[in-house]
């Protein structure tokens, strides 16, 4: 539980970072324009959306897999111990 609590605190810190960053970014158009200037063509938007999209998709999938798989493992019943005296 303590491990999960620490993870939730990290999530909260990221949320705080997002809240303070969002106001400064302005509109999405402004952000993508600024981030495209002085970059090679393959690192200007909209190309960059490919990298961001793939990165985000893989991360989200990994995150979901970890927690779903982890919870399944945690809630799986303990394997029954074989009674060595029982008849097979």
């Amino acid at each position: 539980m303590l491990q999960i609590r620490i993870a939730l605190l990290f999530v909260r810190a990221a949320r705080t970072e997002w809240d303070s960053a969002r106001a400064g970014f302005g509109s999405l158009a402004q952000l993508t324009n600024r981030a495209s200037q002085l970059k090679p063509n393959t690192f200007k938007f909209p190309w960059t959306w490919v990298y961001v999209g793939c990165f985000a998709a893989i991360l989200i999938a990994t995150f979901c897999w970890f927690w779903i798989h982890g919870l399944r493992e945690a809630m799986a019943p303990e394997p029954e111990e074989r009674d060595p005296t029982a008849r097979q």
Binding site: L2, Q3, I4, I6, A7, L9, F10, V11, A13, A14, T16, E17, W18, S20, A21, G24, F25, G26, A29, Q30, L31, T32, N33, R34, A35, S36, Q37, L38, K39, P40, F43, K44, F45, T48, Y51, V52, C54, F55, I58, L59, T62, F63, F66, W67, H69, G70, L71, E73, A74, A76, E78
Partner: protein, 482 residues
Amino acid sequence: MNRSHAERRWSDRRLALFIAVLGLFKGLVWMAMTPPLKIADEPTHFENIAYRAEFLKRPRYDGGGRPIGKVMHDGAPPEVFHLWHVTNRYFRGKYLPNVRVVPEEQELRNMAAVDKNREGDGQITSMAYPGVYYDLGVVAYDLFRHSSVIVRIYAVRFVSVLFGIVAAIASFLAARQVFDSRTLALTVGLLVMLQPMESQMTAAVNNDAAILGFGAVIFYLQLRFFREPQTVPHWRWGLLLGVINTLAILSKPHGYGLAAGSVFVCLALLYKNRRSRAAWLFCTSVALPLAVVVLAYQWQTHHEGTALVPSATAHSATIETDFVTFLSTLDETYQSYLFRSTFGQFGWLEYALSSEWTDLIRAIGGLTWYGFIAAIAARLLWPDDSRWLSIRGLLFSLGTVVFSVLFILYIEYLFRQGGVSGVIQGRSFLFAYPAAAIIVCSCWGALVPARFRTLTGAALFTCALALHIGSILLIGRYHYGS
């Protein structure tokens, strides 16, 4: 017979491929996010590569006596000098509105076509560094020689991305040597990959990327051989370890810190197999590349007198204490700076992770400490139940971290004896990060029963992901906010 998805086995190779793909997209995002020349020391490292590519020789001190500019200088290639000033202009609210292409990009493309614009005087702070990383960067540079300097910078950045992928995969494989849990081992690889400073340095033109990549491979090999010292590996594996260790040293002197682990592993093998010719052959194979190449390099630099050159770095009074006293009296401000800059200081001090993040990272460390005690106690009290974790591997990882930290601090100590302070930054410790990640995952895993270890991995991955996102937001806000 059809195998269900639940029965499908995720082999180490598939997970390594997954890490590689994730690392590739992560590297591309970080490359895209950061303006050119705006990652620490990128100008000097790029100039080093450019000098080697243009003049087919490495830069050397010309003996002029003037201080070497730390970031930008009058002798830089004109296109680099111009780009530096352009990137200082285009910052936050000063970007041109409603456009994605600015006029200076065409200027830089035009400048690249003229040879003189690509040539600098090579009087740079990185000229004393060895050149494996730079020579690799020349390959990428040459592919785009007549393209804009911006394109060449990004081409070399991609070389660093490849080193970052190698570091993450090697960390995963190293973790597989220490514990049975594949999900926790995957967590180690992801912790290394998502570490913010590691992400920055493996998306930058910087020889730290090479140390991170080589360092992780060296650590994996050391663990692999140390795990069962009674088994002597083939001498070809020893040669591989020796060669990669040599490449690390010839990328950046931090590589010497990695060699200590190789020496330790060889001694452990010999202790168990001192009558085995194969063991002596293996250890000779490790030592031979190091002895031959590194000694030759040391002789050459000594002969040329290229040890230290006058720098514009801030000077301070020399210290005359011994190393132990230096450690015990290291000021708290510098200690705090080192800790902060290990995890997230992306440029100047205001461009760093807040104390909220560093406090959370300390919380991970605190729980890790309890887990370490639990792991040792479990091995002593319930040895059969604790075989999922190699205590030998855990202790080797701990030794690697401790030695690496002391080694880097010793470098700072040497600099201070020469009257220069604050040279070492937190990112210098990062080559020990795979070992640290293994310690964290092992110890957190030791606190829970086996069926909760994937959840432990999930929790740690969530922490790493949150920190990673926070860093991306911080960097994005710094460069592109209003």
